[in-house]
């Protein structure tokens, strides 16, 4: 190592370094300058290293001076560096330019099925109104799918639900097991298992023994809803479903409630929105009525409440059920329900 550093030496080296720094003309020269002063064998580095060998008194003095000098030099270097980078960057980087129009390196993109996405949106809206989501069996007893819903055996309303029967006869040799035709059996199952208040939505698959066409599939997804308590009214049904319809289809939609019949509700309701294709004037989408039906609903029938041991004089409630694919078709303008289970990725990847 060279001479023992003194405050004077420190100052001299720093001054020289700063003068030379001023003279540096480009980034390369700056790098050379940096090596000669601040590199591993640089002059300033050597001084700083040498401080440790000084007697304590000198070490303090020289150390303070050296650290101050180092800070000055570092700062000046950083300033020059910024200067050069401003000047030099455009030229240097121009050589490194690329064709930004080439596609990026591919990352596989996955998708959720439109039915899943729609179920989630429906459940999210109802969750915001206090409805929990639950699921139930798809292979169901006649008892839950029909009888507990006020549809006894041989009731003509059974014609509304074309049924797949499972070849799984009971003790009497009768078919009592079926593929549920709607998610409504969960109304009875949930109420059997819980005391009021009840507020749930039930997403799930259903099956109808029906020929397939552009608007009918034999397999479909429904979301059922049920709210039961002391103090739930038809006005609440309207308010809740009105809110839902506008959240899912847009604030500008009008919502129509009309009387309809489902054996497990009384009064029964058909909920429709004004046709967004024609604005209510009537067109092919809405079957010339100006309205598009989106779900069935109603106040839970007292017989259903009695059947699960709820006192209909105390508890009232409403139920509703909607076809998820139908909602998705309306939202996305899908013309044929058969796309949903054809599983063509060219369809699925659009959602």
């Amino acid at each position: 190592m060279a001479d023992r550093p003194t405050v004077g030496v420190v100052e001299a080296v720093a001054t020289k370094a700063l003068e030379e720094l001023d003279a540096v003309g480009d980034a390369e020269a700056l790098e050379r300058w940096r090596v000669s002063y601040l590199g591993r064998r640089g002059e300033l580095t050597a001084i700083l290293r040498g401080i440790g060998t000084l007697p304590p008194e000198a070490r303090r003095q020289v150390g303070a001076a050296a650290n101050a000098a180092k800070a000055r030099v570092d700062e000046a270097m950083a300033a020059r560096k910024r200067e050069f980078s401003r000047e030099v960057t455009p030229a240097l980087l121009a050589e490194d330019s690329i064709d930004v129009t080439l596609p990026g390196r591919p990352v596989p993109t996955g998708r959720l099925h439109p039915t899943t996405q729609t179920v989630r949106e429906i459940c999210r809206i109802f969750a915001s109104m206090g409805f929990d989501a639950v699921e139930g069996p798809e292979v169901e007893w006649d008892r839950y799918n029909f009888e507990m819903l006020n549809i006894p055996k041989h009731h003509p309303a059974r014609d509304m639900f074309n049924t797949f029967w499972v070849d799984y006869p009971d003790r009497n040799g009768e078919q009592s097991v079926l593929l549920r035709t709607h998610t409504s059996p969960m109304q009875a199952r949930i109420m059997e298992d819980t005391r009021p208040p009840v507020r749930v939505v039930v997403p799930g698959k259903c099956y109808r023994y029906e020929a397939t066409d552009a608007t009918h599939e034999w397999q479909l997804t429904q979301v059922e809803g049920l709210a039961v308590d002391d103090g739930i009214t038809f006005a609440d049904l309207k308010g809740t479903l009105y809110e839902f319809a506008r959240q899912i289809f847009g604030e500008e939609r009008r919502v129509r409630f009309r009387c309809d019949y489902f054996p497990f509700v009384e009064p029964g309701v058909d909920v429709a929105i004004d046709c967004f294709s024609c604005g209510g004037a009537g067109c092919r989408t809405c079957g010339r009525t100006g309205w598009i039906e989106i779900m069935g609903a109603g106040m839970v029938h007292p017989n259903v409440l009695k059947g699960v041991g709820y006192d209909p004089a105390v508890y009232t409630g409403f139920a509703f059920g909607m076809g998820v694919e139908r909602i998705a078709m309306l939202k996305h303008g899908i013309e044929d329900i058969r796309h949903f289970y054809a599983n063509d990725l060219r369809f699925l990847k659009q959602f």
Binding site: H113, W165, V166, K238, G239, N343
Partner: protein
């Protein structure tokens, strides 16, 4: 149900346009699917006229020039080509400019003046064709004599047929009368019943006819009348027209009357040729075993108890409430008609129809439930009409077998109930008024309650809440406010399975996989194709499948996912296909329903095949294989903090050398592997390796870890060493990693190169590991690392037979 407005207006005046009537009916629960307007003619230009005289055309033998009176002293003379035009006829006259159907052009066109063989004609006497009423070329349409001259034809002949979608609870609306009553209630009018009065002869019916109801449980009321001296023939035009508009084919006058009254009142009727009824005796009884009946539709049917028959002294002559017998049907020779109007049991009628696969207008109505009060009303009405259109004399009185007379149900509707169910509080007089308008007899509107008797036609109203609905629908649902639920929100109950499925969907989609949903029904053949049968449980069969391809409940998702993959690979050759499904498989618990419903097990199956990355300038990677599937699976499992172990295994669907069982601790999670070539062949997949994983979602719930505590990041530096090892081919890499990571100074090990070149000795493979050293106690020195490495190499050699590649190490 087709309901012509012209028919409805016979019972209730309608001064609203058909669209408005349809709208009100629809809102009140009787949906009008469609309105067919007939005779939508220009009211100014198409009117009723009367032919005053008919002159010959001066230049053409086959043309005439009728002069037509048009009211208000106006007349018009036009050229006419019809052979049947004659003075005194009422006709449909079209002025110039009227839009009519032109047989020549096949389009609707405005009528223009024409010079026909030298005579200028500006107007036309119309035939059915121009008016769009039919295709009768024969001549002009001749109207009835009562047609008022000068009236717009649309008012006289026009009609609107409402196509009603009647719900199963409203058999009353399967009748014009029922619809008229609805219209009355919805328009503030009153409906009147049709005239049923007729003259009777001196002979009491009991003297001629003997009727016995044996099975009163299935026939609560049986009424009958007798008309003798009828002549069977075609019905008059008004009757035929009414039936045609209502979609019923005219047959002969007596049968047409029974159909007309069924449509009018909703009560099915049946006419027997009385002379063919043996011993003039009718017995209503269950069918006997082995009994047969040739029915009106020409089928020879085997009857079985408890089907209800109408029999004479020896044989069944009709199937009660469903269809009549051929033997006693109306023929041209019939002169005496025994007319039946009865009340048959709904369930038995439905079962009979179902057993015979036969649904008729009669069975459709009976199975929806009719009240016994209706039977005699319809009987008298039909008797009157038969006398009118077929002549003859009615016997005195009717037979009425009605052992257990029913009281109409009485119900009380309270203000409290209305408030509780609807959330509104109308006053009692409004409630009473609404119910009255529907025909409910209001007994005593006292206090806050309205007590009513249900009218005979409303079989659907049985409890207080039914009246609540009546009130709501007559007021209109629009009049009920919209409010938010104010009761307490129930406690949230966690749904771990729903959450887990949603989580896996998100994770797999984020890993580049597309979700698919396939059918839950499949065929044993398809399941077998995916080698899921034979090795798994017997699937549950569908008793009434729509096709063989959908004849059983799936016991595996593999078949559905593979056929989806196959069809997508066919259309997407340049891109890989990655798809997954989360859905249920259905595993029976036993041979019959006594074992309970099947287990519905939530499964997750993912498949991938084709190029790992789409064709791109920046990449050149190959096709997806086992390790792609395993990678996605590992990453998905890592998301739920689940460390899975993979062990070599076999599976009937999968390649025997490329299959791993996946487990976590003691819980089996599923399998990952490449699909067996013979399975691929069954699904028509060629030249592609298909990697598949299948996971039991329930098992994920058992073994996944919720986020627990955390450990602070290790602040001491890591150092890495690369070890290229040569080891026996039979040693799984996982064993090497397990050995390395047991060492306390090793944070982890990563196999980064796998080599199986020719210069390796037989039975050996070579894998390079990057070994990351790190201590929680301080920075490791080179010496510590060297010692650790030496120690590790010794153990690798001793325990696994692994050597550092290159002799000198």
């Amino acid at each position: 149900m087709k309901a012509p407005l012209s028919w409805i207006t016979q019972y209730v005046p309608v001064d609203l346009p058909p669209q408005e009537v349809a709208h009100r009916l629809t809102m009140a629960g009787n949906e009008v699917d469609d309105i067919t307007v007939t005779g939508d003619w220009d009211r100014e230009r198409v009117v009723v006229g009367r032919v005053l005289e008919v002159k010959r055309h001066p230049n053409a033998d086959r043309l005439t020039i009728p002069t037509v009176e048009l009211g208000d002293g106006k007349t018009a003379a036009v050229v006419c080509g019809a052979p049947n035009v004659a003075a005194g006829q009422k006709v449909a006259f079209a002025h110039e400019g009227a839009r009519l159907f032109s047989a020549r052009s096949g389009r609707v066109e405005a009528l223009r003046p024409a010079n026909i063989r030298g005579v200028v004609s500006s107007g036309m006497v119309c035939s059915e064709i121009e008016l769009g009423l039919g295709d009768d070329h024969g001549g002009i349409l001749v109207l009835d004599d009562d047609a008022p001259v000068g009236t717009p034809l649309a008012d006289y002949l026009g009609d609107a047929v409402l196509d009603m979608n009647v719900t199963p609870n409203r058999p009353d609306c399967l009748s014009i009368m029922g619809i008229a009553r609805e219209v009355a209630a919805l328009t503030g009018r009153e409906a009147v019943e049709p005239d049923s009065s007729y003259l009777e002869s001196e002979v009491p019916i009991e003297d001629v006819v003997d009727i016995e109801v044996v099975d009163t449980d299935l026939c609560r009321r049986y009424t009958a009348s007798l008309v003798t001296g009828v002549s069977i023939g075609p019905s008059p035009k008004w009757l035929q027209d009414a039936l045609i508009k209502a979609d019923q084919r005219p047959i002969n006058n007596v049968v047409d009357v029974t159909n007309y009254v069924m449509l009018e009142y909703g009560q099915p009727l049946h006419a027997f040729d009385f002379d063919k009824v043996k011993d003039a005796k009718i017995v209503v009884r269950r069918a006997r075993a082995g009994e047969r009946l040739l029915t009106l539709d020409g089928e020879d049917r085997a009857l079985v108890p408890p089907m209800l028959t109408i029999a004479d002294s020896s044989d069944a002559i009709g199937l009660a409430g469903v269809i009549g017998g051929a033997e006693t049907q109306m023929t041209e020779a019939t002169t005496a008609v025994l007319l039946e109007s009865a009340n048959f049991d709904a369930v038995n009628t439905r079962r009979t129809g179902a057993a015979l696969r036969l649904s008729t207008g009669a069975s459709y109505r009976f199975e929806r439930g009719l009240r016994a009060e209706l039977a005699p009303l319809a009987l008298r009405r039909a008797t009157k009409l038969i006398l009118e259109v077929a002549g003859g004399q009615a016997a005195k009185g009717i037979v009425d077998v009605y052992p257990g007379e029913e009281e109409p149900p009485a119900i009380t509707l309270t203000r409290e109930r209305i408030r509780k169910v609807l959330g509104i509080d109308p006053d009692v007089s409004e409630t009473a008024g609404a119910l009255k308008s529907l025909g409910f007899a209001v007994v005593e509107p006292v206090g806050g309650a309205v007590a009513v008797k249900v009218p005979y036609w409303r079989t659907d109203v049985a409890i207080e809440d039914d009246l609540v609905e009546e009130l709501a629908r007559i007021r209109g649902y629009d009049s009920i406010p919209t409010t938010a639920i104010t009761t307490a929100i129930p406690h949230h109950s966690p749904q771990p399975m729903l959450d887990m499925k949603d989580r896996m969907r998100d994770v797999l989609a984020a890993a580049g996989m597309c979700e698919m949903i396939s059918y839950s029904l499949t065929s044993p053949g398809e399941l077998d194709g995916a080698a899921a049968l034979g090795n798994g449980p017997e699937p549950l069969m569908i008793a009434n499948p729509m096709s063989g391809e959908q004849s059983c409940l799936r016991t595996s998702l593999r078949a559905g996912v593979l056929s989806c993959l196959a069809s997508n690979l066919r259309v997407s050759r340049n891109e890989g296909v990655r798809t997954f499904e989360i859905g249920r498989v259905y595993i029976p618990r036993g041979k019959s329903a006594e074992y309970g419903l099947p287990e519905e097990r939530e499964m997750l199956v993912g498949v991938m095949a084709g190029p790992r990355e789409p064709v791109s300038w920046g990449t050149r990677s190959g096709d997806m294989d086992f390790y792609d599937a395993k990678g996605v699976l590992e990453s998905a499992l890592a998301q739920i903090r689940l460390e899975a172990a993979f062990e070599k295994d076999t599976d009937p669907s999968l390649h025997p050398g490329r299959t791993a069982r996946v487990s976590s601790g003691s819980v089996a999670l599923g399998v990952v592997g490449e699909v067996h070539p013979s399975v691929l062949e069954r699904f028509g997949i060629e030249d592609a390796a298909v990697a598949l994983f299948e996971i039991d979602v329930e098992s994920l719930l058992e073994s996944s870890q919720e986020a627990g505590g955390y450990s602070p990041p290790n602040r001491y530096p890591q150092s890495s060493r690369d070890l290229a090892l040569t080891l026996p081919a039979s040693v799984p890499s996982a064993a090497v990693q397990a050995l390395l990571e047991r060492h306390k100074l090793i944070a982890r090990s990563i196999p980064f190169d796998v080599y199986s070149g020719a210069e390796l000795p037989p039975g050996k493979k070579s894998i390079s590991y990057r070994v990351v050293f790190q201590s929680e106690k301080g920075t490791l020195t080179a010496e510590q690392i060297n010692n650790a490495q030496r120690d590790l190499l010794r153990r690798l050699r001793q325990e696994l037979g692994a050597e550092l590649r290159g002799a000198d190490s």
